[in-house]
Symmetry: D2
Subunit: 352 residues, 4 copies
């Protein structure tokens, strides 16, 4: 039985980790870290866990934690883990970091977009970007540190990855218009996240400056072997869960001067995702809906070619708390310990 | 492996049965009945089941079905099962009926409230009212027909049952004010169920005439060994899932002339529910919230004594599609076949 | 042109006052008080008012304000106005107080339910309880202080008032089950009011202890000329605006031993509300819906007699920010200055 | 007093017309046309209008209607008006058509995108495209037929119009990602519009084929004096009202090789909208929110320059039933009859 500790167990992503691990057959949580609720019963913070979790919340003592557990999930603000991580800790325990601290390889880019100094850049090189479908072979028994991708990022990258990899689009024409449920904004008590402010409302935010932008650019640059510069615009949608990305890009013409056909593009998706359990490329003409993946680890993807404009429109959806956070973290944990990748993640989407 | 067939597999309750049985280790669905979608792939009707269910929908042939399966779930309109059930069918297969056809023992009461003639009253006596926490010992390997309780009914009865049983309240002062999410209204295409009509709106309906009333009255009468007449008022709430009942009743004074104490009432709950996995009586001063049980088979209950008025206010919540329909149906199936009662129902509530 | 000042202009009720007065032909706001946003432009706090209100927010200086305006609306926390009100202020300006400070005549009851000491009980006797449909003749040019009723209270009282007045019900059997949209909880940044906590959720709160209880009891006691003790249970509903009350009471039998007829009860409503612009008693068999009064000053009411139990079930709806707060405050202002009572309140409900 | 008739008065747009005209000082509705509800009282269809509208619904007799009224609003399906419009009718009455029948000048484009034959193309040339802010001088006392723009179209065009007009962007790089509340889908009873299907869900639809595309292209082509081909993708959002468009385009470099500055773009907006009552270009760095214009005739617009990618991101919001339908129709009526353009439209947005 793998012993797991969570730092930040009372945020929404932390709470989802607790939900998922409660049904995991090979892992158990032994440390519910939550600086805000120390000594309070976990189920007093999340009443849904009444009679399921009896533990109390504990402080964020990474060193003590490293002694007691096999894996630590850090669902913490940016800069937290980077500020306290040491070689000693990493020598004792595996870490799946749900923050952005080790996602971006170029530390200058990190510092510029996040506006903070990175306190432990020495661990960046060894951190694996935990997008399992892309980097599975790097997430192994010997991996110590996984940077769990962001929610927008996971959805944005997986939706377009095969097309970038296969050179089907001009990646610098890529525009990603993303829409997220409100749990992505966290459980902090702020006026803009109040029910009456979010309900019956939609808005863009972080336009041209959202921090998931460089993460997407770096990963797509890696896939396409080129420098990538995109527009990424997130929007806040009045629903709890779910992300939808709508992506636009110019198709590159084939050697015969024609646009790639539907079959060409579908073939690219199949090449990378045919064997993927958690990526579902939909049947022709279906538009993905966030509701169809709610509560599950699936990413649903589809595309439409616009012959008139020569663009392809891609759509991808996931549950931001599952595949966009806790689910992917568990998927990474499974890989890190050589378990069945889908253990604890055989979640059937809930409808309605 | 138990073979199950569902008639009405494409309604919301039917869909939830499919979701729950997909993760059940001892049962599998072999017949997805849906008269409206015959020959259509099930996942075309519920896209969330893409890659999970590959079957096509089939007609409602109860006789053929009885040959092929061990248990039939009928998630059908009132009168459907009563109209076609025969001794021959019942001799071959167990039936868990999610409609009201066999819930009410007094056939006249059924015919009066439902406004239809009961076509097979001969099976009413043997049908067991499948409220597992109350009638567990009647749901056995030899039971052939289970009347799965209604969603409002399950919540209403379980919330007040121990107090009636223990004679703590004057049951004829009982008023049940119930609030339900919209999935309870089904998937029929009707103007009053459109998003724009339900959203940002709340209303009562079926006032003084809702069909779950006699079902509650019969069961509570049975528990209290007296004739019961209550007011039950359902309301439509702009949310997908969840039922909350708020119940009001006059407390009977104890022999010493005092009102029952908090401890008295709590003891009554503990007497009946202390060992119940799916009933959670909350800690003092907590009000149940539908969100805390969403997606699970739990019923959460609590109460407040109002010394001023001598009334007790009870609150109970459940997920109308799980404990209020499909979850309880699975619980009944487990009992019918001697399986672990919670098999397939170890569902952790999802939040947010 | 009446000059009006608002203290607490940036809460939801204050904001609604600004919306309503913007279209009032006889009044204008000259002071937008908001301690939290002093010197900030009002439309920076409420972007909907961009280009409509150019003023900046100002401090809560009641004395200076009394010099400059004809009427002050206080949309402030309990205890605020009571703590600073003086005879000198009242000699200069009329006040419509949206808080509870002067609603309850019995100061001990106020202090007990609100848990604070009343700092200026000397003004309680002269304060008029501003439920216009009931106390219209006391709200006159010579009235200085109006206690604007609470949102739950307005809805609860108006729904049952004629039946109490006419002695049709046993008022001590009255149970009020109320459901409110979330704007009633105010704009404070608290976790329980976050979108993800309220959305897809319903719960009771303040059970047996909500502060609107004594206000309802006092007013109904006054109407029925008897001591009244009721149960009042509020619930939080995932919608922005609207209150629905469902009320239950035993009907008193007539001299002939029969229950009052539908016509009897309807006649009672007509007796008090036939000429009321803002109270709409619906046609038989229609259940009021909050959506049908949204954005307007209407209260919609209807009732059902349950012959089986001898109870009448009453339903009433209003928009908590309009008739439940700002609309009623404007209605009171109109009466205070001898204007047409409906001036600025000819608001057509918005649907959907 | 202008006499108005509505055909399609019981759809959502028709209902909004009724709401707006109820407070219009110069016009009154004398004919509530609704084929589905003939002889039924209007307020039985829309209970919010109880005691406000006493009329019954009437059939769609355009000829009789033309005799009785000064202006007809047709809030009807595509093809309806084109199928019955005659010179005789137009000689008697002005028509504001809320359908698409006369919006597109190129009848072939209309027939291709709408898949129906245009039955009266002879009236297309005289029809004025009623986007008041753009074509105000063509909407005059002598105008007989106004094609009221679509909801997506109004928002999409007004948001980018000044930039196209001033040649600041490469219009063929324009991508419009639009998000709409569900009232845009109409009041038809269809499963995809049920509460449980829309709530907690977001999806794209009509990808690369939505009928508002050619309307936007024609108008922008007209503004930019060039052929325009864009991508337009609508999305369904779980809210009742509101449209948000997020638009992306490559900025053209200035003669000095630099990108246009913020001031350059702002100046373009000011050039066209400085005097416009209903277009609010927001202060720098604010993102428009649909909630801030709800219930009003405003369009709120803003933009962000992304120096990295050389694109400008535009955002625009409106209430789809007001400025996107009924409000703009009233605005057109005001112009057609020489009234104050904002008469009946001084609607303060409602929040929350």
């Amino acid at each position: 039985m793998i012993k797991a500790g969570i730092i930040g167990a009372t945020g929404y992503a932390g709470g989802e980790l607790v939900r998922l691990l409660a049904n995991h057959r090979e892992a158990e949580i032994v440390w519910y870290g939550s600086r805000s609720y120390i000594d309070k019963k976990y189920h007093e913070v999340y009443q849904n866990m009444f009679r399921i979790v009896e533990d109390v919340c504990r402080d964020d003592n990474l060193e003590e934690l490293a002694q007691q557990v096999d894996v630590i999930f850090t669902a913490t603000p940016q800069g937290f883990l980077a500020g306290i991580l040491t070689e000693e800790i990493l020598s004792k325990v595996k870490i799946v970091d749900l923050s952005a601290d080790y996602r971006i390889k170029d530390v200058k880019v990190y510092e510029q977009w996040y506006g903070i100094q990175h306190k432990s850049p020495q661990f960046i090189p060894e951190a694996v970007y935990g997008l399992c479908e892309v980097n599975r072979d790097q997430i192994t028994l010997s991996t110590r540190l996984v940077a769990n991708p962001g929610c927008y990022t996971t959805c944005s990258i997986l939706t377009v990855y095969p097309l970038v990899k296969e050179g089907l689009i001009d990646v610098n024409t890529l525009i990603i218009d993303a829409k997220s449920g409100t749990s992505g904004a966290g459980r902090g008590a702020k006026v803009p996240n109040l029910f009456c402010e979010v309900n019956e409302n939609i808005k863009a935010y972080g336009v041209a400056g959202h921090r998931h932008t460089p993460e997407i650019e770096e990963q797509l640059g890696c896939a396409g072997n080129c420098k990538v510069m995109i527009n990424f615009t997130p929007h806040l949608v009045p629903m709890n869960r779910g992300i939808l990305v709508t992506e636009y890009a110019k198709l590159k013409r084939r050697d015969d001067g024609e646009l790639p056909s539907w079959e060409d593009i579908r073939a690219a998706y199949d090449k990378y995702y045919a064997g993927e359990k958690f990526v579902r490329v939909l049947e022709r003409n279906l538009c993905p809906e966030t509701k169809w993946v709610e509560g599950s680890n699936y990413v649903d993807i589809n595309f439409v070619i616009d012959e008139r404009t020569g663009r392809v429109i891609l759509m991808g959806v996931l549950d931001n708390l599952v595949k966009g956070a806790a689910g992917q973290a568990v998927q990474n944990m499974n890989l890190l310990f050589g378990l069945k990748e889908s253990e604890g993640l055989e979640l059937v989407p809930s409808f309605p």
